[in-house]
């Protein structure tokens, strides 16, 4: 289902739109998302940066405040005077100063480094109390660091970190001691700074060489998350990407350094983006739905005219050209519709032309065979009687070959013009080349033909060359010659035409007899091979009378085909097929083998009759048949001149040299050779003389009417004389009466053959016939 859907233009446009819109949406969505994220990150970075600045300012302010105050306090004369007096007075004075700036630590140091006073604050019952520090009376470590710098330094006392600033207590310019004030760095500070900066604040007191911190002070988390020290370290080292950090060193205590760490989780930013994202998504979905709807409308509006177009084109495709394509659409589609209309008109025009060409001949512009076939169908429906005349201009090929095709075409056109003028009631068709057909309602064929002759027989003058238009006509009648298919009528006229041409007649009316040679030939061609293989063939034997002794001395083996369906088929019908389909050699061999078998069978029964076998031109082309028949003769020890091979003049004439060679070869192996059907061919005596034959067989056409035709008598008599003079014996065939037989005997013809003596009869009947006939045989003892 998916693929046809995808193939639809509407779907494609729809999908294209949707894809584009989706892409744009996605891009805008992600760019917004990214920009948002980026801007939030920048904001966060800015926040951290601002926080850092605020933090530094705050921290520096404390430093400055401490150092400025220590400086001021050190110059206080009251304090100065009590510094060297009793400790109690001094500590009270020192605390008095401490209170002024709410310092968490106050300290006084003698020039030798001894801490003469140390006050630290602590919380008791939510009230700030002051107590003597644990280092009072001890040496102040690292005094140099504090005295050399004006700013506050970090001071580690009692596990607490202080910012401490010392100022010299002077008598004149003589330093008589140091006083200092400090602020504690504790969670309160971290919280205060966190509140000010808006980010998490941590202080890490850490030896750089150690992984863990000596002390960590964290502000209360903004997110109320309690940060583990491990976690703080990860953030500090930058290993946690979820936090934006800023860290900087505040100072050192011994070897450890105090680092301030400002950090803000990105999670809070991402959460904000996530909240916005849902809003985005809703807008996005709404846009998608609108896009889908819009894309559907657009694709539908684009494809609607196309669908209309397709619908109308389909209509035209069915061959309905009556309607023009009209659509109300874009310029391009309208143009397309116009193009289609033009194409349609062109198609209509071309179709008419093609139809005309399909139904008319290009030379004469007469209706052609297709038209004729249609016409015949119509006529058939009218139940009218009519005749079909198929005309063929003869020797048009010769005109083409000698005078050129242009002249040939002129002749055809002239012929057609004459036919057109013949009778306007008749319908004229030009089947192509030199073939025409007339359909006429006239029933008198002879009269029609004679009228046609008047129209056609005048000479055709071409460049002072008078051409006589010769033609043959085949005729079929309707309904007399109708068969199932009306088109068969044309076949029938064609068969009649071929017959007319063959027999040099002007016209021939169809006869069923003609069909055999045409239609059933085809079946025979196919079945002849099986006929030879399956012994459907039989040999009939026609006896020859030796006129001198009036004995039956010879037989001629004649092949017959007992077709299982068609019955007995005469040799004239299938021998020509065998010749044309190259089966002649096989047929002759079969005949030869069968005849020799019969000869030997008779010999066994002491029926001493020589046998004659017809061979064809095929057998004279090379020695293969000769070797075959020689081998048969030798294998069966047949005496010389027992077997006569009859060959027609035509067979020899096709290749006289080769034929002479083969015949000589056969003769040398003891075969008697006879020229069959002598007198029908065109062979000259001179040619005959060259042939190594011993016998002439006068064609039956000279013999059949011998008694009635004196010309035939002259021909036969002179032929016999001539043959005898050349040393040839003579056989006459076609003897149909006794007088002819006697005439021939009188004129010394050697052998006689014909229906008067016997028809060709099967071998079985032949023996019976021999016993019953009036002739004696060469059989010994009779």
């Amino acid at each position: 289902m998916a693929i046809p859907f995808m193939k639809s233009l509407q779907s494609r446009i729809f999908i294209l739109f949707i894809s584009l819109l989706l892409c744009v949406q996605m891009m805008s969505f992600f760019s917004t998302y990214q920009a948002k994220q980026k801007s939030e990150t920048v904001q966060l970075n800015n926040k951290i940066e601002t926080a850092k600045q605020v933090f530094e300012t705050q921290f520096d302010n404390r430093n400055y405040y401490l150092s400025a105050f220590a400086e001021t306090a050190a110059k206080d004369y009251g304090l100065k005077t009590v510094f060297s007096e009793d400790r109690k007075s001094f500590l009270l004075a020192l605390n008095n100063h401490r209170k002024r700036i709410s310092a968490d630590l106050a300290i006084a140091i003698k020039p030798d480094g001894e801490i003469s006073g140390q006050l630290i604050t602590y919380m008791k019952n939510k009230q700030i109390k002051v107590k003597i520090g644990p280092e009072q009376g001890q040496q102040f470590s690292n005094l140099e660091l504090f005295t050399q710098t004006q700013t506050a330094e970090l001071y580690y006392l009692d596990s607490k970190i202080y910012q401490l600033s010392l100022a010299p207590l002077k008598s004149g310019s003589r330093v008589i001691g140091w006083i200092g004030f400090g602020y504690i760095i504790n969670q309160d500070l971290a919280n205060k700074l966190a509140k000010l900066t808006g980010v998490n604040v941590s202080f890490l007191l850490k030896d750089p060489d150690l992984p863990t911190s000596k002390k960590i002070i964290n502000s209360n988390s903004i997110n109320k998350i309690t940060y583990e020290s491990k976690f703080i370290h990860a953030i500090n080292s930058g290993k946690n990407d979820n936090y934006i950090i800023s860290h900087f060193k505040l100072g050192e205590i011994d070897k450890t350094s105090l680092t301030a760490l400002l950090f803000q989780s990105k999670v809070s930013v991402l959460k904000k983006i996530h909240d916005d994202w849902q809003q985005f998504l809703i807008i996005f979905m709404l846009e998608i739905i609108l896009s889908l709807f819009g894309a559907y409308l657009i694709s539908a509006s684009i494809t609607r005219p196309i669908k209309q177009l397709i619908h109308q084109i389909k209509y035209i495709g069915l061959g309905k050209y009556d309607q023009d394509i009209t659509i109300n659409a874009s310029q391009e589609l309208t143009q397309l519709a116009n193009e289609f209309n033009q194409m349609k008109d062109a198609v209509v025009a071309r179709e008419q032309l093609i139809r005309h060409q399909a139904y008319h001949d290009s030379i004469t512009n007469l209706p052609n065979r297709n038209y004729l076939v249609e016409r015949l169908s119509k006529l058939q429906n009218k139940q009218q009687n009519f005749i079909i005349l198929q005309l063929n201009i003869r020797r048009i090929k010769e005109i083409n070959d000698t005078l050129g095709h242009q002249v040939g075409d002129k002749v055809i056109v002239e012929f057609s013009n004459r036919l057109k003028l013949f009778d306007c009631n008749d319908e004229l068709f030009h089947l192509g080349a030199d073939e025409f057909v007339l359909i006429s309602q006239k029933q008198d064929i002879k009269k029609t033909i004679s009228q046609l002759s008047i129209s056609l027989d005048s000479l055709f003058n071409h460049e002072n060359l008078n051409l006589h238009l010769q033609y043959s006509i085949g005729i079929a009648k309707y309904p007399e010659h109708n068969s199932e298919n009306i088109a068969d009528l044309l076949k029938k006229t064609d068969i009649a035409l071929q017959y007319a041409k063959k027999h040099n007649r002007i016209y021939q009316i169809y006869d069923r007899q003609f069909d055999f040679n045409t239609l059933e030939r085809l079946h025979l061609i196919n079945s002849l091979k099986t006929a030879i293989e399956q012994s459907q063939l039989v040999l009939h034997y026609q006896p020859k009378v030796s006129l001198a002794s009036m004995k039956i001395s010879h037989v001629e083996a004649l092949v017959r085909w007992e077709h299982p369906i068609n019955g007995l088929i005469p040799p004239d019908s299938f021998i020509s097929i065998a010749e044309q389909t190259g089966q002649m050699d096989a047929l002759t061999r079969w005949v030869t083998k069968e005849a020799i078998r019969q000869y030997l069978a008779w010999q066994k029964r002491n029926i001493n009759i020589k046998i004659a076998i017809n061979i064809s031109a095929e057998n004279l082309k090379d020695k293969s048949y000769s070797d075959y028949v020689i081998a048969l003769k030798n294998d069966n020890n047949i005496a010389d001149n027992e077997i006569t091979l009859e060959v027609t003049e035509d067979a020899v004439l096709s290749d006289p040299a080769k034929a002479t060679e083969i015949l000589t070869y056969l003769k040398s192996h003891g075969f008697k050779l006879s020229i069959d059907d002598y007198g029908t061919g065109y062979s000259s005596l001179a040619q005959l003389k060259q042939l190594p034959v011993q016998e002439l067989k006068i064609d039956k056409s000279f013999v059949q009417h011998l008694m009635q035709n004196t010309d035939d008598q002259i021909i036969v008599r002179s032929t016999i004389e001539l043959a005898h003079n050349m040393g040839l014996s003579v056989v006459a065939e076609g003897i149909e009466d006794e007088r002819t037989l006697l005439w021939l005997k009188e004129h010394h013809c050697e052998l006689a053959q014909g229906y008067f003596i016997s028809r060709p009869i099967p071998a079985k009947l032949f023996q019976t016939w021999l016993k019953e006939c009036t002739y004696t045989t060469a059989k010994e003892g009779k």
């Binding site: 110059k75 004369y77 100065k80 002077k170 008598s171 004149g172 310019s173 003589r174 008589i176």
Partner: protein, 216 residues
Amino acid sequence: MINKFFLINFLFFNTQAFANNITIKVMDSKQSKVEGVIVYLTPENNTLNHALTKHPLIIFQKNKKFTPYIAVLQKGQEINFKNQDDVTHHIYSASGENRFDFKIKAGEQNKSTVITTSGEVAMGCNIHDWMSGYVLAVDTPYFDQTNSQGLSIFKHIPPGSYKLTIWHPQLETQKNEFTKKVEIHNNYHFKVILPKPLLPIPAQQNQDEFDFLEGY
């Protein structure tokens, strides 16, 4: 310790003058003469009767400065502060045993201060922070301050063992002093080379621009 780290040369001048006149020349390591350092000799055997210097030490307050910046006196000697400025000063000494303070108005003087304990008196003015002056009280009548040639000359010093002390607030040594035992029998000329150079003497000058005061 000092001997170990610093080279000190006592050069004996070949003189045939009468006994017990001592000349001490103070130089720094760069052979430059050092002016204004306190030089005093304290007898080892403190059986000698130290005659008290009768006249008071006068220290002026002029141009909001202590003048001289550095001075020496014998224990028990009084100091006479004389204010030559047109403003009041509040003179004090806040360290050691010799603590005192008083206000002294313009053009007046104060004679009440008697230094009874030997040692350094670091003075300041509580009104003018930059003012600074030193007085060293010694327990011997043999004291002097080097002149512009870096020389201190002592006359009629009885023979005996003495501790020679050179003191200056800007001498960066223990207690800002440099001591050596000396035997005095004849006239001697000493040359003392200080182990460390003197730090610059702080200018007694207001660092702020109180120009407006000039109009008063």
